[in-house]
Amino acid sequence: MKVKVDERGYYGNFGGAYIPEMLYPNVEELRDNYERIMQAEDFQEEFQSLLKDFVGRPTPLYFAKRLSQKYGAKVYLKREDLCHTGAHKVNNTIGQILMAQRLGKKKIIAETGAGQHGVATATVCALMGVECIVYMGAVDMERQKPNVERMRILGAEVRAAESGSKTLKDATNEAMRHWINNPTDTHYIIGSVVGPHPYPEMVARFQSVISEEIRKQLLSHEGTEKPDYVVACVGGGSNAAGAFYHYYDDEDVQLVAVEAAGLGNDSGESAATTVLGKPGVLHGSKTLLMQTADGQVVEPYSISAGLDYPGIGPVHAHLFETGRAQFYSATDEEAMQAGIELSRLEGIIPAIETAHALAALNQMTFKAEDVVVLNLSGRGDKDLETYIKWGKY
């Protein structure tokens, strides 16, 4: 099966560009230029050099011995948590700031949920000396205080999204409204594989360095580029898209996406979009969406602010619909336990988003020779307060 975006921005039935006319010129400019810019030699040189020397790539592919013993398979961790700023998010913001410069944009806006994308955006803006405004839900600002201050230290202005549920969805709305009001000099760095075409594909391409490296690294570890499973958590789905990207065509590699089940998928407090969603349109693309019968977007819930989003990237809706990826979900409790387990078995405290991917290992059955690559998308420093509140360690 081919997982490829068509010229209108669709992955099968999902994607596209559902935007008001006010955003059309900006999105069109990006759509018409991103491919050319990304492929230009000077872009690639600068991008690769920053990924290496600023981000610290390639990130290790680490054989997790004790975790492997526990689950009866060979489990490798792709250490995106070791990226500068603590998560995979920076791969995309490096790419997009270089894109913005080549489009002649002078100012940057971004949305953030947990604050990781906001920090990664504030970081590259500091690096390039560009003005940066990050929209963040007022509720998220409260539960992710350290990241708010990190952004401010880096010189970004953090604006509270006070509309709607005051979380990631509303931060995205506010960023889009800001872009409507500032259409010529501003680039919007979207943090996940969501939004109108070409964002989902562009962000996936910037994140695809993850699976590009996995292939090379696994070859030296295992003598094959292809694991049996690639496992990643999905909120919007940028780390999963990056980890899956170079495996889409290898059907013998099982792609496993893990969503946040919050307090349980039957509890009314969940963010598992493929379980609870239906096709719909939000933030510029047609995708699976948690919504009422009347088409109003429903507030998701997860302990993890980074997975607390009512949709998923259109590519993931497509992977789900076609069965190319298997979707699991993990509750708050399962994720927190998995986070503690990794801390104790491997000496790595994962981000709570990532802990959801780890929790899925419990739900899967493996053969001893199975090779599993799990994308360790972020580290848990930002989540200390949540771990402490949860307390069971």
Partner: protein, 262 residues
């Protein structure tokens, strides 16, 4: 209903080409059952057409005033289904053209064909769906709109390229909604020199459709200015503010519309 030869929006522009006043309000705001009452007051006070907003949880093209009215309408229990029920029978007592404006998702969930059919039944004349892509309109929606006598109204902005304006003009009917500035609704007030240059540029293009200017039209001064540059104007946020005030809603509407028309 009886079959009409000409759409009410087309009839209006055939009859009137200057100072056309289109008023927007959000269905289900300020209270759930205000919809029809507001329509009747608008007709009585001399509005020319009305645009009813279908509330949505995430109205990204709208500023704070209309966002808030959407949120309150949803809290009041407004749904697209209920709005269409409220409009049943309204044509016995209401003569102005009716436009429904809404983000695409609630309409997709309702079912596009069922929606068009119901619009025709209750006497809706036109639709403004700001986040519907042009190609999808042409391939999927247009045949249904035509079958059910609905006109499709597109937006243009100061940033819209000339070639796209031509494409939009080609594929619009009724009128073109000229967004006055790069903004969300209600974000800016007044009309600047830059905007006037944009208005003249559009005027000189001699579009086949009439134009109405919206966004930032809030009082007599801005309405007059818009009417010098287009066939009329659309008032949204300022009207929502007017009906949010204390007092009898019909009186507030009357006072506001009189103040605009002068």
């Amino acid at each position: 209903m009886t079959k009409r030869d000409m759409n009410r929006i087309e009839e209006l522009f055939n009859r009137k080409s200057q100072r056309v006043l289109n008023v927007y309000f959000t269905a289900g705001y300020p209270t759930l059952n205000d919809t029809v009452g507001i329509m009747e007051s608008l007709e009585a006070t001399g509005a020319d057409l009305i645009e009813i907003g279908i509330p949505f949880s995430d109205p990204i093209a709208d500023g704070p005033t209309i966002q808030e009215s959407n949120g309150i309408a949803l809290d009041n229990g407004m749904t697209l289904k209920l709005l269409l029920e409220q409009l049943e029978g309204v044509r016995h007592k209401f003569g102005l053209p009716i436009i429904l404006m809404g983000y695409i998702n609630p309409i997709v969930q309702y079912g596009i064909e069922a929606f068009c059919q119901k619009c025709q039944e209750v006497g809706v004349d036109g639709l403004i769906l700001p986040d519907l892509p042009m190609f999808e309109y042409l391939e999927v929606y247009k045949p249904l709109f035509e079958k059910h006598g609905l006109l499709n109204i597109f937006l243009i902005t100061p940033q819209t390229s000339e070639s796209r304006i031509r494409e939009i003009d080609q594929n619009s009917n009724g009128f073109i909604y000229m967004v006055s500035s790069a903004s969300t609704t209600g974000a800016k007030t007044g009309i600047s020199q830059d905007q006037e240059a944009y208005f003249s540029r559009i005027k000189e293009m001699n579009l086949k459709n009439p134009t109405l200017i919206g966004f930032g039209i809030s009082n007599k001064e801005t309405f007059d200015k818009a009417c010098e540059n287009a066939n009329g104007a659309i008032i949204g946020s300022a009207f929502i503010k007017a009906i949010s005030q204390e007092g009898v809603i019909a009186n507030n509407i009357n006072e506001f519309i009189q103040s605009i028309k002068g």
